[in-house]
Each structure stands twice: as structure tokens, then as C-alpha cells.
């Protein structure tokens, strides 16, 4: 079993990140998306949280437990053409994702918020789809990051 020692440093994260799915999370740029942008900036996240792995775990758990409701709220509001509701939920989404140094998800959350503010529903729907795709890539990376490797 490989334990994460504190403080967490970017170098510590690599072996953990390579476990499980076998996908690599490099210190700087992980899992390039179609546009070439990174999904998770591990080094920045590590710096932001001061290497506090316990805090990171807590935040990731919270994000994973709250995001489904938040996204469901956004979907309901989009279906009801309630862009005010979308704006409110997208603001919370943007704030939550903003804590994780996840550029692609952050961008799509911001785009969703901006579209809702403009009252542009079709753009909001597009941004919501983009967020779903980026979250699909981001979630396993976060899980890998906080799950101690068993070996």
C-alpha cells in the first residue's frame, strides 16, 4: 500500500495518479482534451491547497456528492427555460469547480454562467454539454489523486 505523505508535493502525486486507471496525471498538464487544454493542473492545485491531502480529499468528496444535484438543477432550469435559475446554479458550479484548478471544466462552467447571464439558452445548453464532457474526464483524475494506492 502506498500512502500519501504530507505535505503533498507534485512529485508524490505521479505514482498515485498512475495507479488504478493507468492514466498518467503529470505535474503540469493532465489528460489533454480535444482543444489541447489541461483538465487538471495538479501542481497548481497542490500549491493552492498547500499540499494538504486531507483537505483535498474532503473537497473532492464534497464536489462529487454535490455536483449531481447541482447539474440536475441546471438541467431542470434549462428545460423550463428558467435562465435566472441556470445563472444561480451555474454561479455555484463555477465557484465549486474554481477551487480545483481544472481549466477545461472551469471554462465551460464560466461559459454556462455567461450564457445564462446573457439569456442565451442555446449557448447555455452547449456549455452544459461541454461541462458534462469535461467533468467526465476530470472526475476520475480527482478520484485517482485522493485514493491511496493499494499494492
Amino acid at each position: 500500500m502506498t500512502d500519501v505523505t504530507k505535505p503533498l508535493r507534485p512529485g508524490d502525486l505521479d505514482p498515485l495518479a498512475r495507479s488504478g486507471t493507468g492514466r498518467s496525471v503529470s505535474a503540469r498538464s493532465a489528460m489533454p482534451d480535444a482543444g489541447g487544454a489541461s483538465d487538471l493542473d495538479v501542481a497548481a492545485l497542490d500549491e493552492r491547497l498547500g499540499g494538504d491531502h486531507e483537505l483535498l480529499s474532503e473537497l473532492v468528496d464534497l464536489l462529487r456528492s454535490t455536483l449531481p444535484d447541482l447539474l440536475a438543477r441546471i438541467d431542470d432550469c434549462l428545460a423550463a427555460h428558467d435562465l435566472g435559475g441556470v445563472r444561480e446554479a451555474a454561479h455555484a458550479l463555477s465557484g465549486a469547480i474554481g477551487n480545483f484548478c481544472a481549466p477545461a471544466a472551469g471554462r465551460s462552467a464560466t461559459a454556462l454562467l455567461a450564457a445564462a447571464r446573457r439569456g442565451d439558452r442555446s449557448e447555455a445548453v452547449r456549455a452544459r454539454g461541454e461541462f458534462a464532457a469535461s467533468w467526465q474526464r476530470l472526475e476520475p483524475l480527482l478520484v485517482e489523486l485522493v485514493t491511496p494506492r493499494r499494492g
Binding site: L62, A92, G95
Partner: protein
């Protein structure tokens, strides 16, 4: 430092958790969390908090509305509040500054940054409490603050003794006697007058300045009647006051220089703190520019743009001009956010308008601060700098932005009471 009670008002849970962790683990705070403004007002009505960290955009009752409600509540109007924002919406920032905040945090939060700001805030709160306790202890000890008047003219000393109310006045007829009395009595204010014998005014000042136990005493030079305040006259003294033979006139002049001693010292100091806070917060929230005191301040020059506004403090009858100036790069960025024009497209008029607007925001912020400490303020609308010549500054604050090195300065200038802008002083309205 004693454990403090912190109120977190934030709808987004990961940010709440981040804050709770920093506040409780790093600073030992007792933390209460609320998800919106309504919950926060409810919590505030049931218990006391030392400070609050407030998100600006929330459902139900947003941050600005919550801050407004807090400031209007007699029970917790003075609560120190740190706002968190991603906003660069000028109207929102302006309103927040007008309502008065202790500090701001830009989102997404950086724990190290949050820690620095919280540390500063807690030190400020602890300092204010210590000052308040000291003031209360002083009053309890002898009831009245002490004024030492050192002057060779017995008539003038008696006139001063009659002119001031609520002060214990002690007289000394010479510089030597004054020094002895000052050491023994530790007065709050020393008036240093004329005909002091072998230990003249400047030497007495120097001796008083070297005494640790007198470091909080306000040292005031009484200058001859009819003399104009010169920049050199201020050197080394906290303030100067013109001598008067007429008791009423002397009373009015002394009223302008004697501190209140009720927790707030010199109102000019309070203005300086409020101005510095308002500018730092505005530049931080609107331009993401961190501001620090400038150790190498630029001399004022013709190319420095800016605005000028005159603040009149309470019923002190001591008009004070607060002059804001900043360099061209800062002025352009300012125009960009305040007037929403491209930095390169800003005309001279835009720069002037943006400066005037910032001056207005600063004036509103100062008003909030003064009112919180029981003071009053009126102000005249900002006017361009080149309309009238400026007098010598009584005090100058200089700042620069940490990253870009943009500079600005604030001069505090004594003004004549009749030197008002067209229309005269007007109340600052929210």
C-alpha cells in the same frame, strides 16, 4: 490571541469547507456557517461574532443586501466583514465599499492568501479592542484626559484652561518644568507655546519624543497669532495651532486639534486609514491589483492625473482636502473599469470622470468609517486638480500596485473653511 467567533456566509460548500478549515485549524476560530444572508442575519441576531466572511453572490439574500442589512442593524452595524467575490461589476463593488468592509478576497480562494488576510484582520480586531480597553482604563483611572500647556505667558495658560472642557489641564511655565510634568503625568496632549526659557520649543519636542512613555502623546506647537501654517512648522510636531487672545477663538482652534480620546484618536488619522482601505479594496476588487505602501514615493508632478475632493470632518470646523493622484497607466485602467471604455480609447475627459468617480467612492467610504465611530462628514464634489493651487500637505500616503508598480498618492491638505467648491459642501449620500 484569544479565540474569535467567525461567521462564514457562503452558499457554495467547498468554499465554506476551505474557509472553515483555515479559520478553525489555523486560527482556532469558533466557526458558524450560513448558506445565505437570511440565515446569517438570523445567526447574528442570536449570538455575537467577531467577524464575518461574506460571499457577494448568493441566493435568497445576496451579499450586498446582507451587508446592507448588517450595517443598518444597531446591534451589529460595526461587525468587521470580509467579502469574497469574483465580481468586477463596478456598481456592486462601489456599493460594498460605501457600506464598509474590512477586506476582500478574490475567488477562487487561495488558502495562503486567506491566511494572510485573516491574520491581518484578527490583529486589527485585537488592536482595536486593546485600544478600547486602554481608553476605558484611562477614563476609569482618573476620569479625564490630561492636557499639559507649556507656555511662559500665565495669561495664555489660564485662557487655555478655561477654553477646554472635559480635560484636566496642567500648566508649566517653562520648557524644563514642562518636561518634568510630562514625564510625571504622561499627558494625552502637550501644547508647546512661547517664552519657554533655556529649554525652547524644539528642544522640548525632541526631549519628549525620546521618552517611550510619551509615545502616544499628541505634541502640538502653538504658533504665534497671525502666522501662516508652513510645512516646516509641522516638522516633528503632530499638529500646530494658531495662538489667539480671544477665548472663544482659542476654544474653536483647540477643538480642532484635540483628539476625541473616545476610541478614535485624530479624525485625520481615521480618514487616512479609511482612504487607504477604500483605495486598496477598490483596486483589488476591480482591477485585481494588490496595493502596498510605496517606499519610494514619486514627487507630485504636472503629468500626474487625478481628482480632488474636499472632505469636511464633523463639527471640528477643520476642513480637510483629500487629493487623489495616480499615474497615467492607473488612470487608464481605472477609466476602463469605471466607464467601461477601452483603456486606449479613454479621453482626458474620461480619465477625469473616472478619477472624480473614484474620489466620490472614497468619500463615501470615509463617511461610513467616520459614522461608525460617531463622526460626521460632508464633501464637495471632486474637481480637476489644476483648478486651484494646492497647499502644502499635512500628511501624504503613497502606494503602488505590487505586480505592475502603478503608483498613486493621497495628500491631506488643510484648507480654509470658505474654500468650498461651487455649491459648497454637500452631504455624501449613499
Amino acid at each position: 490571541m484569544e479565540s474569535m467567533r467567525a461567521l462564514i456566509i457562503e452558499d457554495e460548500i467547498t468554499t465554506r469547507v476551505l474557509l472553515r478549515r483555515i479559520l478553525s485549524r489555523e486560527f482556532g476560530c469558533e466557526v458558524t456557517e450560513c448558506q445565505n444572508g437570511l440565515e446569517a442575519l438570523e445567526a447574528l441576531s442570536h449570538r455575537e461574532f467577531d467577524f464575518a466572511v461574506l460571499d457577494l453572490r448568493m441566493p435568497v439574500l445576496d451579499g450586498v443586501e446582507t451587508l446592507d442589512a448588517i450595517r443598518q442593524s444597531p446591534g451589529f452595524a460595526a461587525l468587521p466583514v470580509v467579502v469574497m467575490t469574483v465580481e468586477r461589476e463596478e456598481g456592486r463593488v462601489r456599493r460594498v465599499l460605501e457600506l464598509g468592509i474590512s477586506d476582500y478576497l478574490l475567488k477562487p480562494l487561495r488558502p495562503d492568501h486567506v491566511s494572510d488576510r485573516v491574520r491581518q484582520l484578527m490583529a486589527k480586531i485585537a488592536g482595536a479592542r486593546a485600544a478600547e480597553a486602554g481608553s476605558r482604563a484611562r477614563e476609569a483611572a482618573d476620569g479625564q484626559p490630561r492636557l499639559l500647556v507649556v507656555d511662559g505667558d500665565a495669561g495664555f495658560r489660564r485662557l487655555v484652561a478655561k477654553a477646554v472642557e472635559g480635560w484636566q489641564v496642567v500648566e508649566a511655565e517653562s520648557g524644563l518644568a514642562g518636561l518634568k510634568q510630562a514625564i510625571e503625568l504622561k499627558p494625552n496632549v502637550v501644547l508647546i507655546g512661547q517664552n519657554l526659557g533655556i529649554l525652547g520649543a524644539d528642544l522640548l519636542l525632541k526631549k519628549l519624543r525620546t521618552r517611550d512613555q510619551l509615545h502616544q502623546a499628541r505634541l502640538c506647537l502653538v504658533r504665534p497669532e497671525g502666522s501662516a501654517p508652513e510645512p516646516d512648522a509641522h516638522r516633528g510636531y503632530d499638529v500646530t495651532v494658531e495662538r489667539a487672545a480671544d477665548p472663544d477663538l482659542m476654544r474653536a482652534r483647540l477643538a480642532a486639534v484635540l483628539p476625541d480620546l473616545d476610541g478614535a484618536a485624530d479624525p485625520v488619522d481615521a480618514i487616512g486609514v479609511a482612504v487607504a482601505a477604500a483605495l486598496g479594496q477598490f483596486f483589488g476588487m476591480m482591477l485585481s491589483l494588490e496595493v502596498e505602501p510605496d517606499p519610494d514615493p514619486p514627487a507630485p508632478g504636472d503629468d500626474i492625473l487625478g481628482a480632488r475632493t474636499k472632505l469636511t470632518v464633523g463639527d471640528r470646523h477643520r476642513p480637510l482636502e483629500v487629493v487623489l493622484r495616480w499615474d497615467l497607466a492607473t488612470a487608464r485602467r481605472l477609466a476602463g473599469v469605471v466607464l467601461d471604455v477601452g483603456a486606449d480609447q479613454a479621453t482626458d475627459e474620461d480619465l477625469e470622470l473616472a478619477g472624480a468617480e473614484l474620489a466620490r467612492i472614497v468619500a463615501s467610504r470615509v463617511k461610513t468609517s467616520l459614522e461608525a465611530s460617531g463622526g460626521r462628514l460632508t464633501y464637495s464634489p471632486a474637481v480637476p486638480l489644476d483648478r486651484t493651487p494646492l497647499g502644502p500637505p499635512r500628511q501624504t500616503l503613497t502606494f503602488r500596485t505590487v505586480k505592475d508598480g502603478l503608483r498613486y498618492r493621497v495628500d491631506f491638505i488643510d484648507a480654509n473653511e470658505d474654500d468650498t467648491a461651487p455649491g459648497g459642501p454637500v452631504p455624501v449620500l449613499p
